[in-house]
């Protein structure tokens, strides 16, 4: 399930959690919940980064335009 959410989205969420926590005026229960979410997201982000493997798509359709052009 976590795999479906992209790294960038997880980073955005993590930043949002920290921003929410930093507001201060939040109930303790909510703070604990956010904290748990933040720690989880950080771990997911790190995992995604460390396991990342560059994905390469090649598009050679236009390599020789003189063949299919003119």
């Amino acid at each position: 399930m976590e795999e479906k959410i992209t790294f960038e989205e997880n980073m955005k969420k993590l930043s949002a959690v920290v921003a929410e926590l930093s507001k201060g005026e939040i109930p303790l229960e909510k703070a604990v919940e956010l904290y748990g979410e933040g720690v989880r997201l950080a771990a997911v982000c790190k995992k995604q980064l460390s396991e990342a493997q560059i994905k390469i798509t090649e598009d050679g359709g236009f390599a020789a335009p003189e063949n299919n052009y003119d």
Partner: protein, 396 residues
């Protein structure tokens, strides 16, 4: 007829020629002769000639230090220059700002004109530049897939930011069909949902840059909705592609570096965010603890034991206040009594009797007036010491 000095004439001619727009900021075609690199001043002195005539020329050190070649006799070139009068010597000359060798010169002039045209259209405006995304998901690369450039890009991306996706579009970067091939590659990458596009070719200054100096490639780069980084692989020359791109990188590797953040920096950011999480959560907890402490101390203040203690305190305070008040009243009464006794003493009739006065009683009643007495009444006299009985003989 006015009498003039030589200096006056030279100065007049200098201002005349210097003020003539036809003679300023011009391109002059010719051949170099009598070339001298003056050792002491560092300036170039030479003549520019054609089949018929010749002209003196100077190129100052400040102008020629950017020149990528050494001029020599017999070299045909286009000179970017002003016509000026050398007042001390009384002759006019070309003050050369740039030398474009013939052949390359023609192309360069055309390129210059094209550059001006595209600049006027706003293709190179800083305000038109798009900023690069901080964390691009998909990176487009338009270059030869058999060249070194794509390998460099893959190497850098794998090291710096392996979480990204590379969309590599093959394009010819040299030869006649290169401009069309590059344009199509750009369009392809632009429509493939890339977040940033790198367009360029591998290094090697001997390679031909001309595809990247074409109008169509510059326009194709400008037309991209996606931010474009140019990586033409030339440290010095800025191609039209470089000028039209949102960002210029000297090499494909550098372009890849600019396109993505470093994974180590991102890791540090995650750590920092995690730390903030800890810190903020701890803040929330300690805040809750503080308010709990405040409440529980307020609560214990209201406990029965505490109230009893409080009431006992109040009672003993009242008791002590009570007794001290009572004592105060007592002492006040005491002093008033003494006062009264003293006053009583001073007012006592006995004191008056001491001074020789007497009191007359009729029975139990003290006589104050003759009206209370009749002749023959019996009265009692009271002195300081003792008393006597008497009879009234006369009343007046």
């Amino acid at each position: 007829m006015p009498l003039l000095t030589v200096s006056q004439i030279n100065r007049y001619l200098a201002s005349k020629i210097g003020g003539d727009k036809i003679l300023q900021n011009i391109l002059v075609k010719g051949e170099i002769s009598n070339f001298v690199h003056h050792i002491r001043t560092g300036h170039f002195y030479f003549s520019v000639k054609d089949e018929v005539s010749s002209m003196k020329a100077v190129m100052f050190k400040t102008a020629h230090h950017n020149l990528k070649f050494m001029p020599e006799d017999g070299m045909s070139a286009v000179f970017s220059c002003d016509v000026k009068v050398y007042e001390t010597g009384g002759y006019y000359q070309l003050v050369v700002k740039d030398i474009i060798p013939e052949g390359a010169g023609k192309q360069s002039v055309a390129l210059d004109q094209l550059k001006k045209k595209l600049a006027a259209e706003g293709l190179f405006d800083q305000s038109a530049k798009q900023s690069l995304p901080h964390m691009p998901k998909k990176i487009g690369a338009v270059t030869s897939l058999t060249g070194a450039a794509i390998q460099d890009i893959i190497r850098v991306l794998s090291r710096r930011y392996p979480i990204c996706e590379l969309y590599a579009v093959d394009a010819q970067v040299q030869g006649e069909s290169a401009p069309d091939s590059i344009c199509r590659g750009l369009m392809c990458a632009d429509n493939a949902g890339c977040d940033v596009i790198i367009v360029g070719r591998g290094g090697g200054s001997a390679e031909d840059l001309s595809a990247f100096n074409t109008e169509k490639v510059a326009r194709a780069i400008y037309a991209c909705k996606t931010p474009v980084i140019s990586a033409v692989g030339h440290e010095v020359d800025f191609t039209l592609a470089d000028l039209a791109a949102d960002m210029r990188a000297p090499t494909p590797s550098a372009a890849a570096e600019q396109a993505v953040p470093d994974i180590r920096t991102i890791m540090e950011q995650i750590d920092a965010l995690e730390k903030s999480c800890h810190r903020e959560a701890e803040k929330c907890i300690s805040k809750a603890e503080d308010s709990l402490k405040a409440l529980s101390s307020a609560l214990s203040a209201q406990s029965p034991e505490n109230r009893l203690k409080l009431m006992q305190q109040q009672l003993s305070t009242l008791e002590s206040r009570n007794s001290s008040a009572f004592e105060a009243i007592l002492s006040r009464l005491d002093s008033r009594l003494n006062e009264n006794i003293a006053r009583l003493d001073s007012l006592s009739p006995l004191k008056v009797l001491e001074r020789g006065y007497s009191l007359v009683y009729s029975g139990e009643k003290l006589v104050r007036s003759k009206n209370e007495l009749a002749v023959g009444d019996s009265v009692q006299l009271r002195f300081h010491e003792g008393g006597a009985s008497a009879e009234i003989k006369e009343v007046w």
